[in-house]
Amino acid sequence: MLKSSIKINAEREGKQTLLKESGYNAPYKVIHYGARHLHEHLELIIMSATPGIMEGDEIDISVNVHEGAHLKLFTQSFNKLHPMEKGAVQRTHVQVKKDGIFRFIPHPITPFAKSDFKAVNEIHLDESATLIWGDIIASGRVHSGESFEFTRLHVVTKIYRNKKLVLLDNQLLEPGRQPMKSMLFFAGYTHQATLIYVSPFAAELKAELDEILVEEYEQIDFGFTQCAPNAVMLRAMGDEGAKLHDWLSAMGRLCWEFTRYKQGLEEEEPEMEQAAAPSPAEAAPVPEKPARRTGAKRVKKGAPANKAVKPTVASPETPAEDALEKLLTQTEAVAAP
């Protein structure tokens, strides 16, 4: 029964985004993901010393992305919810100020049998701020034959833009109450995923997606829509958590690059089709020098074949064990607890 908190403050200094006045307590740790000066933006990873969320745990996460700051926040591994009676809660509060960008696409939540979890996310955005937010929920430890045996999983995400509620995603999964396998819910799949993009550039991104997401992806059943004048939502179902996480991360990278381009920070328009390919892209931003991804390139009509292709990292499906270990053994923590 742990009460823990994570506080992150990302501030812009010159061209760089730096971590300021942040803190965390056991079992969590927030450290730089990879080399600190590799990017102008800030990349952080939340690590945990426990095997997951246990009975009675309460986690408070607060993220402040200040004016012009750009933050990518990563997670270490799947968020495992252990068996409980009274349940556990997680409250996340995010504030993104003027021209800020915040990207958070955590690993899937895996609810074990008898787990009971409520997560409430409240996100406040300035009019010019951008949010790239994902969540993935598994039906359980599928490979151990445990599916929909949890008690309850309730994830509520409220997004305000200029103090006005623009999006409310209310996801309750309660196998005792709802036919989870039926056509209205998981439709026979074992995982569901959601990606939300709220940004002044959302309508333009939607137009790009209309061109890119025309084909069907193997084992990913998805749809997307303009869910508000300044928001796009993509939802998907599938049978593999890692695959959905890779895909969502690739889409998240596309959103990130598109936003930076629109803000005038990238000179070249991102190669949208390339970025949307359902291959591992950002699941683990390995700190080593990026290697150009090999394999067939699909070229968007009229665009120069290679010009805008950003080097992507050939990374394994989940964060590479050795890369993770390096991170874990790093003694330098970003801030004092």
């Binding site: 006005k164 996801q171 209205l184 819910f185 869910c227």
Partner: protein, 228 residues
Amino acid sequence: MQPLLTLLQINDSMFPIGSFTHSYGLESYVSQGIVKDTPSATAYAEDMLRHNIFYNDAAFLQMTWKLLEAKKPARELQKLDELITALKVPSEIRMASKKLAIRFLKLTQGLHPVKRCSNYLSRIQEGALHGHYPVAFGLFAHAHGISSKDALLAFYYNMLNSIATNCAKLVPISQNDAQKILFDLQPIIMQLVEEQESLQEDLVGLCCIGQEIRCMQHEKQYSRLYIS
């Protein structure tokens, strides 16, 4: 006006507000072969009532009613309208709710003007509010002495009638089977109406992810008969 007759009229599937042009994702289910016969159509209809309409449109109608009973200020109605807009994620579903609301309000204004309905309509037309059908229906029904229970029963019936009719046209299933769905699911409607008032606030707007994805996929469906 006589409340029952008014309710029958505004709730009629032939009431010309364009509801027959919407399938709310059913067209995707049919084209993907998921809803394909009477048993799957029945399962779809029952699950939609229990897991979608109960937490969404019927709950919004109930919330409108509560605001009116408590004589809450217009600001509260604005908040409700914003909440519904934030919850209706697929754009076709959100727009269906708006279009039906506008047609309903315009049509009923010509029958018997109600001040709160006219206000709602002008706020929608100004762009200050989005506009949603369950709210419009609630505003008018409440002003005509219809009971909350009757309004809800009729509302569920109309939703189910539209599902059954669409299944008869799209799947297709026989008209007899469609009518049987409508008749056999009566106990579920009664149960949901009984439970409507005690629905917890944090469960309003629950999403059915599979259904929502089908609604989104409908935007890209190549050949389609329905607007949503």
